[in-house]
Every structure is written in structure tokens, then in C-alpha cells.
Amino acid sequence: MKKIIITVVGKDAVGILAKTCTYLAKENINILDISQTVTGGFFNMMMIVDAAKYKKTFDKLGAELAKLGTGMGMRIRCQKSEIFEKMHRV
């Protein structure tokens, strides 16, 4: 399993989650966990996904998600999960 963390940050709007999930489904990426917060109209979402069946490169995923984000006026980043696990766990 290739665990990747996707974060979506920006001004809240209709359909952010739907568009992101649609893209992930199309690319055969399985969502393991989603959490989100909206504070003061500002949208923060984090997804933990499994990209084991994703066929393209990591760079491609990053670029396509970033482009999808730009289209919605959001910033979407994808990062391998180890950076968070390492930083926040002893």
C-alpha cells in the first residue's frame, strides 16, 4: 500500500469534496480517511489515500491535483505520509 496524504486548502465553496473524490475515483485511488474543518469560511481538508493501484507517477498525481485545485481556487498538495508520521510520533 502506498499511503499518501492529500490536503485541500482554500475558500469554502460547493463541490470541492465531490470534485476531488471524482478525480481520485477515476485514477483508482482509494480514500481511507477524510477529515475537514471550515473556520471563518476557510476550508481545510485532509485525506489519507491508498495509491497502490494508481498507474501514473507521483509527480503526475501532484501536478494533476494542483491543477484541479487551481481550477477551484484551492491549493491541493499531495505528500507521502511518512513526513507527518515521523514528525508527530516518537
Binding site: 485532509m46 499531495c78 513526513i83
Partner: protein, 453 residues
């Protein structure tokens, strides 16, 4: 399971607080490149560096993209060139040929600096050491990316005052030979230099090291500053220290991850993490700002040494827990030109060379990136080097001097080095002479507490 607040915290550190991996430095032994011919030595050096480090830049960039953390610099450090060239270099210009080879290799690899144009002369100079030292001004003028360092003392050996005297002259000559005296920004004089330091200009691959290693330098003064600003105003020292320690832990963990990944992908063993807080001229990436957040108007105010001691110690305590191998310099860097807060403190009249010297007693390096008038004499520079070396020797720590006597500039002027090297106000130097002391020959004996056998 990772939670959203942790993810957002990490990304805020990266995107807003300048958290980055400052350098992945590949240490490469060039001992097996020594040859009786200068040309053959240079050919072997070029071949070995470009072979071992050929994927260094790409690997650093890949790791940066995948984990979403900038890996700012990819660099190489080599066996001190004085050793590598000792069999073939018969005059300073022979060493300059090695410097040019290193520069060529750095450009081929796409790295911004290569360190190790160095001599380790803590107790005395071999003829090759002296030739290399005498070649430094020409080597700095003839190359762009080569960094040079000379270790003039250690706790075990004392201080080689002949080398200290010579280095005063070499620093002056280097300043005169290079534009904006920038050669001096790539030349550092050390005491107790570590073999595994990944940070320039003092990086070299010591003879105690394996054939090749990956050393990583992390950074993150902006992160520490942000946490203190938002959670530690008015709190007691216990909470303050605990907060710095926890933050240093988080920063270092990122370095450890990157180092392990780089080591695995490049097939080169992991050496150490250097858990230094290294500032850059970028706003918010400043060690001086942390000192101000601790409660000083400006670095240089009374209390500065204590605040820096506290900061340095907590960074080490948090960092040591986060990595299996810690080395290099590991602490807080206090360069002047590379830290906007330090520059502001100098311009405000709060920070002097003398106060910086006191600060170097408790931080991880020394007088770093300090511009002084071009008229400063060689013996005065030697005196400053000797003072720093003495602090290092007696306190069993690394100290260093990277001082730039800027040709044609006087106190109050400013000099621009560009990029990571920043810009610096020209600082006042004591007008009293130490010439008679520097003229003495020989070395200062090792201190009593070095005899531990």
C-alpha cells in the same frame, strides 16, 4: 493515525515558516585519488565526484517533491585537498588546478557549493598544507563554487599560531583578489572542526569517515520563532524551553527522514544529521528573531548570551532524541549577513563584534559572515581568529571565523554578497593592535583539561 491538525501544522511550517532541509551533503573520500601527477590527480578527483554524486541533485529534488518539503541545497564535501594533493602539488598553482577541477565537478553536478578545499593544521603545517593555504586567494578568485576551510586548533592539540598568523594574511589577500571580497564568504577558519559537517563553508569529509556518506543539515528558525510568538509570550522558562525542545524534535525528524531516503536511493550510507538552526536572509527565517521573541529588544542587548545558550541547548536536546546519529555543528548559527535580524541589530547599534564573540561561547559556531573595514590589518584578523580558536579550544567546542575585510569599505558602509550569503553592514573593529603577540612563532599548548588519557 495521522490527524488533520498534525498535517496542517506540518504544512504551515513548510509553507509559511520556511521549514526546509537546508542541505543534503554527500561526503566523498578522495584519498584514493592521490597521484604523483597533478593532472592524474585532477582527473581521478573529477571522475570520482561526478560518478558518486551524479544523482545527488535529482534525488534531493525527488525527495523534496514527494514529501512536500524543500530540499534547498545539494552539496558535496571532500577529503581536505591538502592531503589529496600532498604527493603532487609542489607550488600553490598546482593546488589551484585542483580547485578548478572541483569547481568544474560542482558545475557538472549542478550543486551550488563543494567544500573541502581545506587544510587541517591544528598542530602544525606540512609543506602541502602551507602550499594549499597560500593558494587560497588565487583558488577563491579562480573558482565560483569551491569553499575553503582551515582548522588551526583543537582542544587536543592547542592552537597553531603560525597558521593563525598566516590566515590573517590569507584572508586579507582573498578579500583583495575577489569581487566584493566575496572569496572570504567562502573561506572559514576553524578550531575543533567536525569531520562530518554538512554546512558550508566549513564542510569537509574528514579522514575518519567512510568512502562516501550522506549528511543532512536541517533548519527552521522560522518555525521556532512562530511557536514562541504564538504560545510562549510571558510564560516561564520551563514552558519556553520545553516548547523549543519539542519544536526542534519535529524539525529534526524531517531531516532524519530525508537523510534516510537519500541514503537509500543513492546507495550511500547515512552519516549524521546536523540539527542546526540556520537562518537565511528571508524574512521570518531568522535566529535573531527568536532571541527577540525570548525577550530582547535586539540581539546584543544584555541577556543575549543567556538567551542563545538556552536556545542552543534546547535545540540539541530536542534534536538528539529525533535522530539516531547527530553530528556536525548542531546548534544555532549566528551569521550576521545571512540573518536580517542580526543586520538590523548591527544597524541599531545593539550588536558589536565583542558581543558576538561572547555569543560564540555558547552557540554552535563562531564569528560568521562579519564584514569589517578593508583597512583592518592582517594581524588584527589573526587576533580575532586566535580569540575564537581559544574559545573553542578551552570550551571543547567548534568555533569558527568567517570574516570579510571588504576592500575599499569603511564602518557604516554595506556590502552585498547576494543569494544565501546576504548583505552585511561593515562593523567596527578594535583599533588597538595585537601585532606583537601575533608575530610570535610556534603554538599555544593544549589546555590542561585535554589530558584525559
Amino acid at each position: 493515525m495521522i490527524n488533520i491538525s498534525e498535517v496542517l501544522e506540518t504544512n504551515r511550517m513548510i509553507l509559511e515558516e520556511n521549514l526546509d532541509v537546508r542541505t543534503i551533503t554527500m561526503g566523498i573520500s578522495l584519498l584514493d585519488c592521490a597521484d604523483a601527477s597533478v593532472k592524474k590527480t585532477c582527473d581521478k578527483i573529477y571522475a570520482k565526484i561526478t560518478r558518486l554524486a551524479k544523482d545527488l541533485v535529482k534525488t534531493g529534488d525527488d525527495i523534496g517533491r514527494e514529501f512536500g518539503i524543500p530540499v534547498v541545497n545539494k552539496r558535496v564535501s571532500i577529503t581536505p585537498a591538502a592531503i589529496v594533493g600532498s604527493a603532487c602539488c609542489k607550488k600553490p598553482s598546482d593546488f589551484v588546478r585542483i580547485a578548478k577541477t572541483l569547481d568544474r565537478a560542482a558545475k557538472k553536478l549542478g550543486i551550488n557549493f563543494i567544500g573541502g578545499y581545506s587544510a587541517i593544521v591544528s598542530k602544525g603545517m606540512t609543506p602541502a598544507d602551507e602550499l594549499l593555504i597560500r593558494s587560497i586567494p588565487e583558488a577563491m578568485a579562480a573558482t565560483e563554487r569551491v569553499c575553503s576551510s582551515v582548522n588551526v586548533g583543537s582542544t587536543k592539540t592547542g592552537i597553531d599560531m603560525d597558521a593563525v598568523r598566516l590566515m590573517g594574511e590569507i584572508v586579507k589577500e582573498t578579500a583583495a583578489k575577489t569581487k566584493s571580497s566575496i572569496g572570504c564568504a567562502k573561506l572559514v577558519v576553524l578550531c575543533n572542526a567536525p569531520d562530518d559537517n554538512p554546512f558550508m563553508a566549513g564542510a569537509f569529509h574528514g579522514v575518519s569517515e567512510a568512502d562516501a556518506v550522506i549528511n543532512v543539515g536541517v533548519s527552521g528558525p522560522g518555525v521556532v520563532n512562530h511557536v514562541l510568538r504564538h504560545t510562549c509570550r510571558g510564560v516561564g522558562f520551563e514552558t519556553l524551553c520545553e516548547t523549543i525542545k519539542k519544536t526542534a524534535f519535529k524539525i529534526t525528524r524531517v531531516g532524519q527522514l530525508v537523510a534516510q531516503e537519500a541514503s537509500k536511493r543513492l546507495g550511500v550510507p547515512f552519516g549524521i544529521i546536523d540539527l542546526s538552526l540556520a537562518p537565511t536572509p528571508a524574512i521570518g527565517d531568522s535566529v535573531a528573531d527568536i532571541l527577540r521573541e525570548i525577550g530582547l529588544d535586539h540581539p546584543g542587548a544584555p541577556g543575549t548570551t543567556a538567551a542563545l545558550a538556552l536556545l542552543n541547548d534546547q535545540v540539541k536536546k530536542g534534536g538528539v532524541m529525533a535522530s539516531s546519529y547527530v553530528g556536525g555543528l548542531s546548534g544555532a548559527f549566528i551569521p550576521v549577513s545571512e540573518d536580517q535580524g542580526m543586520i538590523d541589530a548591527v544597524n541599531a547599534g545593539a550588536l558589536t563584534i565583542e558581543k558576538l564573540e561572547a555569543m560564540t561561547c555558547v552557540c554552535s559556531v563562531g564569528l560568521d559572515m562579519i564584514a569589517v573595514p578593508g583597512s583592518t590589518s592582517a594581524s588584527t584578523i589573526s587576533g580575532i581568529i586566535a580569540d575564537e580558536a581559544a574559545i573553542g579550544m578551552v570550551n571543547q567546542k567548534t568555533t569558527a571565523v568567517r570574516i570579510i575585510p571588504v576592500a575599499g569599505k569603511k564602518v557604516g558602509d554595506s556590502v552585498e554578497f547576494g543569494g544565501l550569503l546576504g548583505h552585511a553592514p561593515v562593523m567596527k573593529v578594535s583599533k588597538f593592535s595585537c601585532e606583537r603577540m601575533i608575530a610570535r612563532k610556534g603554538r599555544i599548548p593544549a589546555p590542561i583539561h585535554s589530558f584525559k588519557n
